[in-house]
Symmetry: C2
Subunit: 337 residues, 2 copies
């Protein structure tokens, strides 16, 4: 499906990497080894990591693309699909990088507000899309920072009815009470992004992946930089996949803690937003994050139109306790206003 692809990319021949077996490798100017084989460029195709992921997901390796965080993958879709001045549509509020990446990639960003900062009015959204005629729709699901989720039915309706590419950024999907499933075999205009930064708790290694129809993955791969994932990150990704039991345990713990923090915030007089992610979004007095930072407790404070809104990540029980205690103290000192 060449439809939607940038004209220039339709004929682009990407950089070729030699992956032949060797006794002597003098084809890539890699210099003299002095640190455990790290003079070699990484495996450009992330072969083993893709095989392990494909196996876990019930996919072929050709349906996957690996990124330096899912950030890189968002940009790759834009690089492949977004012609100059074309529109990217998202919801609002959402992850602020979507807008920045659109501008950087010479597109125009348009956002459709969530109802009460939470619910997507799908009818209204579809009308908005008809009006704006985007090349790309990007949706964070569950949504950062609100924690709300768009139902599978509505996602599929958008994918089916909108005449454009849809990026579904599922960075937080493992924390949602839904069956995890992608529909990229059914819909060529859908790509799904996942990450090792959240549920896998490996933000430090920068590793994300894309699932898509294999034809689409081949196109998007054309605009990827060679050797984008370093060797150590590839290996640590494999190590993480060997420790899924540990990961699952932490996800369960976070979901339990999420309910506890939600309830406590409510008891303290806030109106927290119900969350399907590993954080809770809520409104507080404008000094709250400063009051907490003085106690060396960091939560995310937003600015601009979201001034006075906060997002607290769910951590270990003892971390959550310290944060909740500090919030309670801040309230006791100065109240809600």
């Amino acid at each position: 499906m060449l439809k939607y692809l940038r004209e220039d990319i339709k004929t682009l021949k990407s950089y070729e990497v030699n992956q032949e077996e060797f006794r002597v490798k003098l084809d890539a100017n890699e210099g003299i080894e002095w640190m455990d084989g790290k003079n070699r460029y990484p495996d450009d195709s992330c072969t083993i990591l893709k095989e392990r992921l494909a196996n876990k997901l019930g996919k072929k390796t050709s349906e996957l693309l690996i990124g330096n965080g899912s950030s890189e993958l968002i940009e790759l879709v834009m690089k492949a699909y977004l012609e100059y001045g074309e529109i990217v549509v998202s919801i609002s509020p959402t992850f602020s990088m979507y807008k920045l990446y659109t501008i950087i990639n010479k597109g125009v960003y348009e956002e459709y507000p969530l109802k009460d900062m939470q619910k997507l009015d799908v009818e209204g959204f579809m009308e908005f899309v008809k009006l704006k005629k985007p090349k790309i729709i990007i949706l964070s699901n569950p949504n950062n920072p609100t924690g709300s989720i768009i139902s599978r039915e509505n996602i599929l309706r958008i994918v089916e009815d909108c005449d454009c590419m849809v990026i579904l950024d599922e960075a937080y999907i493992e924390f949602a009470d839904v069956e995890i499933q992608d529909y990229t075999r059914e819909y060529k205009n859908l790509v799904v992004l996942r990450t090792f930064s959240k549920a896998y708790a490996l933000a430090g290694i920068r590793l994300g992946y894309m699932i898509g129809n294999e034809e689409i993955i081949e196109y998007i791969n054309r605009v990827r930089s060679p050797y984008n994932i370093n060797t150590i990150t590839q290996n640590l990704g494999l190590e993480a996949l060997d420790n899924e039991v540990e990961i699952m345990k932490n996800i369960s713990l976070i979901k339990i803690e999420r309910e506890r923090v939600f309830k406590k915030l409510k008891d303290l007089g806030f109106k927290p937003f119900p969350s399907q992610a590993n954080f809770i979004f809520f409104k507080g007095k404008e000094t709250l994050s400063y009051d907490l930072a003085r106690k060396k407790i960091l939560i995310r404070a937003f600015s601009g139109e979201l001034k006075g809104y906060y997002r607290i990540s769910i951590g270990r029980p003892e971390e959550n306790d310290l944060a909740l205690k500090a919030i309670e103290e801040a309230l006791n000192e100065t109240g809600h206003n």
Copy 2:
């Protein structure tokens, strides 16, 4: 100097990262630690690595930008400076990614041929630039794959006289018989790229850096993805800077071996190009790389207009010996044609 910068980037406010001290960090949805603190996002500013590099180079940290290989840094300059349809000029032959990155970033690539694939006719180049009016000139110096170098005088003449940004990609500069120096304090339109992939022999960790005027670095930093350099790469970069003696030893060895391989290729009847890098460019019969690959010896074979040209990296003496022996055998079997 806002000149040359893309209009959209002049007002772009980049993603903000909270780098405050903490006891409890619940501002970035990083999940529950299970692998040595790797749940934390990397230091977005690469603070310690930049300090160490700045110290080595006699720079301020604000004159540096760190990239996921210098590849990422090439793209960052294009993202910041290249408006839709604007021209990028380079020489030919050169690193093929320059053209790909230009297309990906919606520019138009124009190349000026080296004389006899080796020497830059600066007069001719300046005329070419006047005609093409590029927004960016990018030069690989020493040049990949020819190994030739443009003199400091000519580089500075280009930087002074051309009305555009100049990217000087010095990936191989440590192998050249020149004093290593950048002129980014004198010239705001010049940025210099270096890498840990070649002389530092750490291609596997993906680490490059840019030196530029601090005002220019601030602009280019606006289009950088947050957390682009993972934690482990930052740490290994520091480890490399602790081992400069080892690195210098390997550079000397490569330079000695480069002369030996050059002489041997000549003795074998090739016309190798003199090289200031860690590789040698030469012409051979069209089956040469296949003959070598059968013996599991990999050298770089080019295609298209460079069909029949080869680039051999300089490795350890024993690797070079094996490669030279295999080349000699290939010649004995079928001759030069």
